[in-house]
Symmetry: C2
Subunit: 230 residues, 2 copies
Amino acid sequence: MDAQSATPLSTFDKLDPQKRGRVLEESLAEFAEHGYHQASVNRIVGRLGIAKGSLFQYFGSKEGLFRHLFSRALEEIKTPLKAIRDADTGEAFPLRLRRVFVEGAAFARSHPLIWRVYRRMVTQDGFPLREQLLSQVRGEALTYFRELVEGGQTRGEIRPEVDPLAAAFLIEAALDRALTAQDSPLLDAGFGLSSNDESTRRARLAALADMLSRGLMPPTGDTNAPRAHD
Amino acid sequence: MDAQSATPLSTFDKLDPQKRGRVLEESLAEFAEHGYHQASVNRIVGRLGIAKGSLFQYFGSKEGLFRHLFSRALEEIKTPLKAIRDADTGEAFPLRLRRVFVEGAAFARSHPLIWRVYRRMVTQDGFPLREQLLSQVRGEALTYFRELVEGGQTRGEIRPEVDPLAAAFLIEAALDRALTAQDSPLLDAGFGLSSNDESTRRARLAALADMLSRGLMPPTGDTNAPRAHD
DNA sequence: CCGGAAAATGACCAGGTGGTCATTGCCGCT
DNA sequence: AGCGGCAATGACCACCTGGTCATTTTCCGG
């Protein structure tokens, strides 16, 4: 899982924990704000009030710094994400989907820097570890959703003709967009996910989850997909 | 609509049309490949085999070049997009949604450079005209979907309790992700949207559209949203 | 064939980048 | 008190960026 990132870091580890925390925080903030290429080591050391040489002594290179932040963030994220995943396994599918949306959104809100870096890594290139991120973290999310759907199918809560892979793809796309809209009014475009009122946000998230569960059309007995006339 | 971009461009307009086309094409390719900040004027003139000064004489600045490309692309896009929007207005909602997905994907495929720049502008910052892009182009898409849903509701093809704004948001998110996955196997993650086989892609797109229409759950007579037990 | 204007050119500029390293300063050990 | 080693420092480096402009080349009308 944690693969590499195995730089020694002897010097950095001996630092005063408070300073160490500040270094990590400010660096992460820089990457969150500017992406990878556009992030500036000069700016980081400027904010921190330390010499540039020090940062390079700690992490070897800009990429080394980023890799360190990445593995740190991965550790920090694991536990709460597993908690979301494993909670209330017995719940019916539509409620569980709602809960995942709401709690996913809360998670993104509680880790704003990590979330922003994640989004940047997914959508921009040039990030180190991007492939690993996509195949592991995002891949795990997709697998989780797929299994959720498959479980729902064995319990009769999801139509058997639904392709679990396709469903997982759709759910992930919706959740991803929802969380992104959360901290970008421009992307939210008035829908309400970037509102400051928590109950508004919850309502919108629930609405999205419910539309995925129930669909847009009125219920019909027809079990087949809509048929084209060509 | 076309707002500014009103640079004179007298010199550039007098150029041999073939050369003019090459300049626009290669520049657009650079922005598509590297985004705005990471795009390099030096690289562009290198590819083109012209002097740097020339490019600055044509467009004044890097931003001027981009603005010119942007308004060009906007013009190029208008007609085909309107064609997709206005085709077959009488069709039933689920079929129409399918069609929009399939034709939207075909459109993105037929304008790969413009599509990639669009995606970059939406997800990255630092692009000039980003706000305009989001509020106009993407806003228009959202409006279109909202009206589609509202029309479906008056015809009884969509449940009346569905919020058209939320539905538009969800549809746009799904379509956007589908088109993005189309040219990125990593984002596709094995779903099949980046397949080279057109019928496979069509099938996946239709599957997504159908899930939106019919939902994941089996049909029930219940008209209310799923109820939580807390 | 010439003259003048417009267009093409690329050396050059200031400013920023990630990265280096000789020097300095500090801190603990004997 | 003095030493030894490690950590902090910031001037410095090569490279790249967008942008400029004096100079040369091209082209066209008389």
